[in-house]
């Protein structure tokens, strides 16, 4: 009897002590476990959907599901994503997410996968997805996505429909006007560009003074449109200097630009009938450093006392340093750039400045080639279309007629 009482007392004391130690070990923030969560997860069974979101060369499936109820979130450890291919029907774990997540993208370029056997998602395979809700007690509740999916690579990015239509219209305009120009010859009007006409006079002046001409192609890379336009003007200048036997100096900032400029000047001298007058020393590489280049070109201007300085291409902070030095040296200066921020500097220090697209129009203007003139006309019409669209959109938004406003705003948001 006494033994039994002692045993019972010991048992009670053990239970009390265990409970006390458990209570003491518990941190105040810990939420007490509620095993009634299981039926609640089952009750709020999330609905999962799968979508093919493949783009930019990546095959991707987006799995989305309804968010779990906020009240059960504290009991959830993770959300697990499983995938199975039809040829391999056991599901493999591909991702673990936080309890509050509502989507997962299974992309072909995702390297870290929990189960390496899952491999990357591939196009034209059939996939099934399951979402697992892992509770803190270690139970997993699995839910299947509503449907299977066969991801397909995309051939056309629908988000780029607006630039695609614009490109297409522009392309058609250019080809159309080139055809018109072919039929009508060079009979398309181009407004006179004073700076361009002045180049010939400036070359004449340099010849009379017996001093060289400096041609600067700017700091652009060979693929810049301004640099490409500059080659055309360089060809024209080189042809004239070849005819007049005036010295030409072309210091370059980029090796590829230098190579093309050498070829341009060589061809111009050949076309002018003076190939012997050309030398590679006329077109040379100085440095690709912006201000070291400025120092070198400014030194050239002051030492060689160039009569005419031409600046055509991409220019940055060096524009004023070059043209102001030219101004101090008393040279005639003609410039052209598409760098809007540098235009004020050129306008204040040079005799003539080609503004923005006037520079691009140089090849058509100088060459009078019907094909180039046609493209220039197409550009004008595209600009007119753009202007009309801008005005229409402005009016539509200003008059505030409900339907039109909503439509235009929607269109602008979409674009």
């Amino acid at each position: 009897m006494c033994k039994t009482i002692r045993l019972l007392l010991g048992l009670v004391a053990g239970v009390v002590l265990c409970s006390l130690s458990a209570v003491c070990a518990m941190e105040p923030a810990v939420i007490s476990m509620d095993y009634s969560v299981t039926p609640r997860i089952l009750k709020s069974k999330p609905v999962a959907k799968v979508d093919d979101v493949s783009s930019d060369g990546i095959i991707a499936v987006k799995i989305t599901w309804d968010p779990l109820d906020a009240e059960i979130l504290p009991y959830i450890e993770n959300i697990l994503i499983y995938r199975s291919a039809i040829s391999d029907d056991d599901f493999k774990l591909i991702g673990t997410l936080k309890a509050e997540s509502t989507e997962y993208i299974d992309a072909s370029d995702t390297e870290a996968r929990i189960d390496p056997a899952a491999g990357p998602v591939r196009s034209n395979w059939v996939y099934y997805y399951k979402i697992g809700v892992l509770t803190r007690e270690g139970f997993i509740f699995l839910f299947s996505a509503e449907d299977y999916i066969i991801p397909q690579p995309v051939w056309f990015d629908i988000e780029k429909i607006a630039p695609f239509i614009a490109t297409l219209i522009f392309f058609i305009l250019v080809i159309g006007f080139i055809q018109v120009a072919r039929r009508r010859g060079a009979d398309l009007y181009v407004r006179p560009i004073a700076g361009m006409n002045e180049i010939d006079n400036a070359i004449g002046r340099a010849t009379e003074m017996g001093r060289p001409i400096l041609y600067v192609l700017g700091l652009g890379s060979p693929e810049d449109i301004a640099t490409i336009a500059s080659y055309t003007i360089l060809a024209r200048v080189a042809k004239k200097t070849a005819e007049f036997r005036t010295d030409l100096i072309v210091p370059c900032n980029e090796p590829i630009v230098m190579t093309i400029a050498q070829e341009t000047v060589r061809n111009a001298y050949l076309e002018a009938g003076h190939p012997d007058a050309y030398s590679d020393d006329m077109v040379f590489f100085v440095t690709s450093m912006q201000f070291a280049y400025v120092a070198a070109v400014n030194g050239l201007m002051l030492r060689e006392r160039t009569a005419t300085n031409c600046y055509f291409g991409k220019f940055y902070a060096e524009s004023l340093l070059l043209s102001e030095t030219g101004n101090i040296a008393g040279s005639i200066q003609v410039a052209g750039t598409d760098e809007v921020a540098q235009l004020p500097f050129f306008v204040t220090t040079c005799d003539y400045t080609l503004i923005g697209e006037e520079l691009y129009a140089a090849s058509a203007y100088l060459g009078r080639d019907p094909l180039l003139l046609g493209a220039l006309k197409a550009q004008d019409y595209a600009k007119a279309i753009t202007m009309v669209l801008i005005y229409l959109a402005t009016i539509a938004l200003s008059v505030n007629i409900a339907g039109i406003t909503i439509f235009v705003k929607g269109l602008i948001d979409y674009l």
Binding site: T259, F285, T349, K383
Partner: protein
């Protein structure tokens, strides 16, 4: 033939890259990545050409003792010294001789060149900013207002100055910038199409 083949290469590549922009297919992306790799490779090949041209011209200047040949000597010495030091071990670590040259000679020289702009801007503004006619007067007044509004002293004179400066920057300035940018965008697109169609050939050194 010498001209046709390069034009053909440009046309085909240009057309394919235009299509690639709209096509997110893995094949198209692979082609695009390949094209990028080729661009880097070709670009790097051009560098020795530039260095050769620079060294040749400077050597000629020294040999012929042309005006400013002393500068050519300095250029060549600088080139070879920096090139040589660039191969020394740990040259990029702080305190190395290479870094000292960079930090205490190269950076100050470059910054000095840039700071010349302040002097040149003042001189150009004094000489060229004239109220010759109505339009020039508008430019002049706007410039003064923006200059005042952009420094704390404008605010100290009257809080309206920064507001006026912001208005000028956000409306008249932006309208003009946009107009030029739209023209430039179309011009650039037109040139690109001309290149793809083989109409524009100046980038190859012939018209």
């Amino acid at each position: 033939m010498k001209r046709r083949i390069p034009i053909l290469i440009v046309s085909i590549t240009g057309f394919l890259l235009t299509v690639q922009y709209f096509c997110p297919h893995p094949y198209s992306e692979a082609f695009y990545n390949n094209a990028l790799d080729w661009l880097v490779i070709i670009g790097i090949f051009a560098m020795p050409l530039g260095i050769y041209s620079m060294v040749r011209i400077q050597f000629q200047k020294v040999a012929r003792q042309e005006s400013g040949w002393g500068f050519a000597v300095i250029s060549l010495i600088s080139l070879f010294v920096m090139l040589g030091l660039g191969y020394t071990p740990k040259c990029l670590e702080a305190g190395s001789f290479f870094m000292k040259l960079f930090e205490f000679i190269y950076i100050p020289i470059q910054a000095t060149m840039f700071s010349l702009l302040a002097f040149y801007i003042a001189s150009a503004a004094y000489r060229a900013f004239r109220a010759r006619n109505l339009l020039a007067s508008i430019v002049l007044v706007s410039a003064i207002l923006v200059m005042l509004g952009r420094v704390p002293i404008g605010m100290a004179i009257h809080p309206i100055f920064p507001e006026i400066a912001d208005w000028i920057m956000n409306f008249p300035n932006m309208a003009a910038q946009r107009a030029i940018n739209i023209g430039l965008g179309l011009g650039a697109a037109s040139t690109a199409i001309k290149i793809v169609l083989g109409v524009e050939r100046s980038y190859m050194g012939f018209e």
